[in-house]
Point group: C2
Chain length 395, copies 2
């Protein structure tokens, strides 16, 4: 009567979305400021001024603003994106290999559909954004999970090496990372590239890195985020403006295929074919054109840094075990009992909504999204304290 796989994906919504919807109901019941919703990456910081300025300017002056663009995007927008990347990272991207997308989720789904054939494998490093599994499987691929180093939360390189097979076509990298906030160092990237280069040679076909980069600009303490196309030719960048410009509801991003990638031309054609097949006619036109005016701008990242410091310092002081995040706006905190779901459920007693890490392919932690108001952080601290005191009493 209907497609059961899709039905299953519809009724079992993600743990993140579930907690988010629970929070909305609780807020109606108890009041906005009584619920500490740390579930979803919905940036609380306002978009930079350029966003609405550009949108209003376009609406008032461009008579053709709402028309179809070419399927890969407006030509001037694609040229601007390529030029911006080249200026920032000393690369040689061509606008011919830039494809504007309806956000990063579209960029990833389109890329996986373009790259994977039936039962090809895509490797991901745990913990990871759970929708990767949905997107890879919708492209008929198989997601292979590599364990992390349990202290640093960079990949366990031995496990990585062991899990690359003849079927491996794609390796997903997400740094700054959701859910840990870890930023891979240059050495990490070099190690991944070293292993991949040997394996690609062994299996005699390219293995592509797909980088999911919505948090590229969100790094603190002068942490450098290495730009992967500078280390590995076969890289496909999936970018979103959702987090850097605080407009996750508008769905605007791009795919940039490395200028020296093997089969770049064919992959670009496959990207166009996948976009068409999945029903993406063109990325939203008004937001495409806004990109030209806002490239390189970000929301006020200092607010996230302030939130991070407040929360991190307090939690460590109370006795929590926390991975110190260097980027993104997530904090990975060890659960106070072995079952993270049970810990998450218990934390609801204090209206603390924390996503259990099971859904990120790793057990025993919770993810805290700190892209909330600083007030929410401050107000929540006494409850984090009570929470750990409860556990200490339980022994």
């Amino acid at each position: 009567m209907y497609n059961h796989k899709m039905y299953e994906k519809g009724i079992k919504s993600s743990a993140i979305r579930e907690l988010f919807e629970y929070g909305k109901l609780k807020k109606q019941e108890l009041g906005e400021d009584k619920v500490f919703d740390f579930s979803i990456g919905n940036p609380n910081v306002k978009p930079p001024k350029c966003v609405n300025d550009s949108l209003i300017k376009l609406l008032e002056n461009d008579e053709h603003i709402h028309e179809y663009t070419s399927a890969p995007g407006d030509l001037n927008v694609r040229i601007s994106v390529a030029e911006y990347l080249n200026k920032m990272h000393q690369t040689t991207f061509s606008h011919n290999f830039i494809y504007m997308t309806t956000g990063a989720a579209a960029a990833l789904t389109i890329s996986f559909n373009a790259l994977l054939n039936d039962s090809d494998e895509a490797i991901v490093f745990a913990p990871f954004f759970p929708e990767y599994k949905v997107f890879v499987e919708s492209a008929n691929g198989k997601l292979i999970v590599v364990n992390p180093n349990c202290k640093t939360f960079v990949p366990d390189y031995t496990d990585f090496e062991n899990k690359i097979t003849e079927k491996t076509k794609v390796v997903i990298i997400n740094s700054p990372n959701n859910p840990t906030g870890v930023v891979y160092s240059e050495d990490d990237i070099k190690e991944i590239v070293r292993i991949l280069t040997i394996k690609a040679k062994k299996y005699n076909h390219p293995i592509y890195i797909v980088t999911d980069e919505p948090y590229r600009e969100l790094a603190y303490d002068d942490t450098v985020v290495p730009f992967i196309p500078n280390y590995y030719d076969n890289t496909i960048v999936c970018y979103s403006f959702s987090k850097s410009l605080s407009l996750p509801g508008e769905r605007i991003g791009y795919i940039a295929i490395g200028p020296k990638a093997s089969y770049a031309k064919e992959i670009f054609a496959a990207v166009c074919g996948a976009g068409r097949s999945l029903g993406y006619v063109c990325a939203p036109a008004l937001f495409q054109k806004m990109v030209i005016d806002c490239l390189g701008q970000t929301s006020d990242i200092n607010i996230y840094k302030k939130n991070r410091d407040l929360l991190y310092n307090a939690l460590v002081e109370y006795g929590y075990e926390v991975v110190k995040p260097k980027g993104a706006f997530y904090m990975f905190v060890k659960a106070l009992e072995s079952d993270a779901q049970m810990f998450s459920d218990y934390a609801k007693k204090y209206q603390l909504l924390l996503v259990p890490s099971d859904s990120f392919g790793y057990n025993g932690y919770v993810r805290i999204s700190y892209c909330v108001s600083t007030k929410q952080i401050v107000d929540s601290l006494p409850f984090f304290k009570k929470l750990i005191e409860d556990y200490k009493k339980r022994g």
Copy 2:
């Protein structure tokens, strides 16, 4: 190295898009007004004032405008859509079965993915919008083409009856029709429903009508466009605001599942799952909220009617055989030689860009998109005259 099916869909872009890109280049070469591009359905008529008024109001006043909405759409938007449909069509749609989409292409792709299992069949009536084939196949379905009545361009009902099999799960209806401009009468709809009801009973499972309705409001001469959910419970409406509000680049539309459809709840869950799988996180938030302000409004349809009358009357006078369009903004004109592609190529001599009907699953015609400036229509007429005179000379 990459997915060959997607590659094929990427390099063979649609005949419509190909001619559109050809036109853009020719215009650069010869000047805007020297090329008569009738290729694409890019509405020339401006959006109604409410569109930009609403967008600017939202940008100036709603601090949360760019945030994620729930995956099926903002609750108030979904309520407004359901209420509007119910008021207009005396139906009982529930907002619980409204799912906001990134345009009609997304609505169709999501619906096919939600409804079809591997090798299920979707029936379409020729001539038809060529992307249906791409969308159905991306859901692993098989598109079955039913011939038209060659005079009226409504379906050949005998052929329809013969082509329904145990595998038939979906029948696609697109009225007002692209590419013919034909509007199915109430009798046509009743005949389709009569046949479907018998067959669904015979095969003991529901067969769903998926109506693709971007042209619902675009009907002329007081032509009534029957609203199919009022005739058939198992109807899933795919709507887009692209044509009615002239914003095809922005990608905003919805899926409305008939309130009395079998398995409505399960289908809605499958729609949510399919949207998630295909990478649609939510429909663009700003344009979702604009919908509330613009429901029931349209661009100035009189311009299309004027274009239609000018073109239709002239072409008939010159000796062309034309299907008189009652809706949408397409005109289906018999090619002046048996091979429509060759006719389309020859017409380029006069910079007349006409899409050959082969790509619509029917031979021997061309489609003219008359959603262009009235000036383009007027200026093109002498060349249409020369074109037919050439053919008369050739004999």
